[in-house]
Subunit: 151 residues, 2 copies
DNA sequence: GGGTTATGTTGGCCTAGCCAACGTTGGTCA
DNA sequence: TGACCAACGTTGGCTAGGCCAACATAACCC
């Protein structure tokens, strides 16, 4: 079998955290796509932010999630059309749309949580629990030094 | 300053390796884009594979890099038009295009290597050298359990 | 009261990953 | 040998994601 040698990526790439992260991201997308529509990832992010943050504006959602305003907008549109959240203009600041999680959104969130946990387990299948925790800690520490949004 | 609390992503997301990897990938893209055109990443991958693997076919390139055949094709097109590599049909198997790195490709590769190292340092700015090495090892171990390509 | 800033919204661009289909070529096996 | 099957390169297209620009409205500041 020459599979192993053929599949091995070049050392110059294996040395790059950015390349590895890109590949982990790709594998995660594939595992996710096997269990839910890909757009459910963004849904999950917004729902989780609402569940944790309560009623917040779309702009705040974007800042917490590291998403652009217009991208938040399209996700909120989708979730609103699905009846998962309520969207109303903030009476104290009429520029803002404040968004509130509805009960349907909570159940949707928990459904996605279950599927997500399966995907995480598959993704980290080769790691012990301690290694997975270490990996999360290192990734978090790396991310801590960088802004969630470009500007 | 309510920045810290506002910027913090929800715990449900922080617990996901896939979400963290996606964010690291995004940050890496941003840092990369500040130093080179984004397409140079794919160039770098192909050039590195050629430098390490010698003369190989496009299909082999795809397998080593985890890229789809048509994506390899477009990168090879770009590099060929730039005069960085030679592309000829394999005399022993006329289905294949075998691709060879040229001198211009080597210098281009080294140029990208320099820029890439800067980006890696910026990306891992918050990690010690030991932590960065640990992170690379954990990501590699995670990736080991997954195929580079879907099918 | 005038300029600046934040917000939501629309529209668009590019990269990346993926899939389908086609013609060509090589391999298999009946 | 001939007929099917697999691999390859190539073209074309789809989706998601990250990003930017522009606009109107609304709040803020001095």
């Amino acid at each position: 079998m020459s599979d192993d040698s053929a599949i091995n990526p070049p050392a110059r790439l294996r040395a790059l955290i950015s390349w590895q992260a890109s590949k982990v991201n790709t594998v995660g997308s594939r595992l996710t796509a096997a269990r839910m529509p890909l757009t459910a990832r963004a849904d999950f992010a917004v729902l989780a932010a609402l569940e944790e943050g309560g009623t917040i504006s779309q702009a705040d959602l974007g800042r917490r999630l590291g998403l652009d305003r217009n991208d938040v907008n399209s996700v909120v549109n989708r979730l609103h059309e699905g009846g998962y959240l309520r969207r109303e203009t903030d009476p104290t600041d009429r520029r803002r749309n404040i968004v509130t999680l509805l009960d349907a959104g909570r159940t949707y969130l928990e459904d996605l949580q279950s599927l997500t946990e399966i995907v995480q387990a598959e993704l980290a299948a080769n790691l012990t629990a301690a290694e997975a925790e270490q990996l999360r800690a290192l990734l978090a520490k790396l991310l801590q030094a960088h802004p969630a949004l470009p500007s």
